[in-house]
Amino acid sequence: MPSRADAAPRRTLPTIATALQAIGVTAAAVCAWALATPASSPVPAVRVRGDSLVLDAPLGRMRDALATLVAAAPGETLQVTLDGAPALRATMTLRALAGAGHPLALRTAAPLPAIAVAARRVEGPAASASLVVAGDTGTIVAIADAAGALDSLRAPTLLRAASLASLVVARAHGVRATAPVHTITPGTRVLVAGRAGWESRFVIAALEEAGWQVDALLDVAPTVAVRQGSTQLDSARHAAVIALDGAAPAVLRAIPDFVRGGGGAVLVGSAAASGALLGVRAGAPGARVRGEAGAEASEDEPRHGLDLVPVVTGARAVPIESRDGAIAIAAARHVAGRVVQVGYEDSWRWRMAGADDAPAAHRRWWSALVAGVARTPPLAHTVRDVLHDSLDAAPVATLAATIGLPRVVAAPVAPARAPWRPEPRLLAVIALLSLAGAWVLRRLAGVA
């Protein structure tokens, strides 16, 4: 016969078994309810970092969160917090969500500086590279290319560099503007036309030394001209023409059509007075102004020593350089081509009598003038260009044009919280364990 001490636990076993059975049944019922009731998830808030959309989602896995985002009820506003200007891919994703019927509420902790960047590299005799950053005046912008950091400058700015690697990046306060470096390869054959003189000698020398291929037609006598190469102005052959004066009328007459077709022309001094060039010149030549005696030998302003035929610019001309209030160089576009009109005469004096670097400076100056107008072949659309289409040279402008600018809100957005929801698998386990325990306890009680 069992003692009273042994009988007491056995009396409690049925009670415990009953409790476990109740728990098990309840858990099973809740599990069945959870399985039968669809989840109602909140729309998660979105945080954008560069090209990544980070969902402040309580749903565990990003895939579920994205699915939730996409499947959210149309009309439900998505809260989007921007850490900076989104990259193009992220902007386009947001645009797609907005297009799917979800209004976007963009916000950011600080204003986004609207910067834009562009870069180009000119190959050939006048090889150069330059980068332009536009933006609110004074914005400090860090500039880099694919090879590394270049400089920090205040926008807007123009940076000239010896070379630029394939891609440029400008950064300012969370905004990252990227652009490909466009390579321009102008034609390199030039026709020089004018009378035989020191200017013709030294212009040809400067251009040839810089790497240009020079054809020349130089008037010497009433029926004699010195010719070098092909002297018929030809769009298929020449990238640019230089008219040194009013001589060589056949060339002057061909210049308007040549420029209309995309060629470039440099009109020097009195050449612009030619009636053949009235339609393409940047302006009328003014009265000749004598250069400052000896100034061509100065390092700072050597062209002050040259005689100047000022350019009285027309409405469509752009002044490039001036001297004492008179326009010395002006440019104009004429249909597909460009014209630059140079008022300086006898630039050879600068090269001969200038400072130590005058020959090189004179060479660079002439080469740049010609490169500025020389015909450029159309840019080939390469695979690399297509890849570069994913770059955004002006991300804030893109954002404004695509979605709209964010509201500046100092406080961060609290992530959306989902209501509590039981986990069916856990409940199923609890139900099974509880019912199994109840059965075991009843067996023990019955045996006793």
């Binding site: 009378r195 003189g197 013709s200 040809i204 006598a221 029926t223 004699v224 010195v226 090269r351 005058a358």
Partner: protein, 216 residues
Amino acid sequence: MTARAHGGSPLATGDRFTFATVQYESGDWDSAPLVAANVIDAVARFTRIDVAPSGTVVPLASEALLRHPLAFLTGHLPVRFTAAERTMLGRYLDRGGLLFVDDHNHDVDGPFHRTCTEELARVTGALRPIPNTHALYRSFFRFENGPPNTSHELNGWGDNLVHEQLLGAERDGRLRVIYSNKDYSSEWSFHPENRKFLSVDNVRFGVNLVVYALTR
């Protein structure tokens, strides 16, 4: 570069060619004072090049040399440039100047020739023969056989003074120095009006020299 017929417009002024004779410290730089007048006369007679009516004399060591991209140097006597002259000559040639040197002795290996070529070689490196097919001989008049001979070379005495080629120094395909043993200094020193009695007026080669300098 070749010269061919072409109908052009009147030449403008402002970039005027002035014949410059080089004055140097040693020797007799002024041994041929009429050369300038003869060359100017020929250039004005045959071309539309805007040429100053009289020549000028430029000291070799002077910055004024840089205002005359073509300069003429002649003499009979031995030549020794001063350091300043040598420096300025190097600067002048480096910037694109062209120096035409003529040995007024019309001999072979004379004192002017030996000393002047030595001085020039110190600035430009050794002088080399200019091919007789060079553009210099076609820049205006055609000299199919190279530099025209002078009456001093063809004096009939059988002393074999004919120099077949001129000498020169080039950089990047451009002549910087042209050196002549042919004594054009004597031939180009006739009074311009008397040249009409010459069977061959070789001052025409002076026109070629000027046109070449202005176009190359």
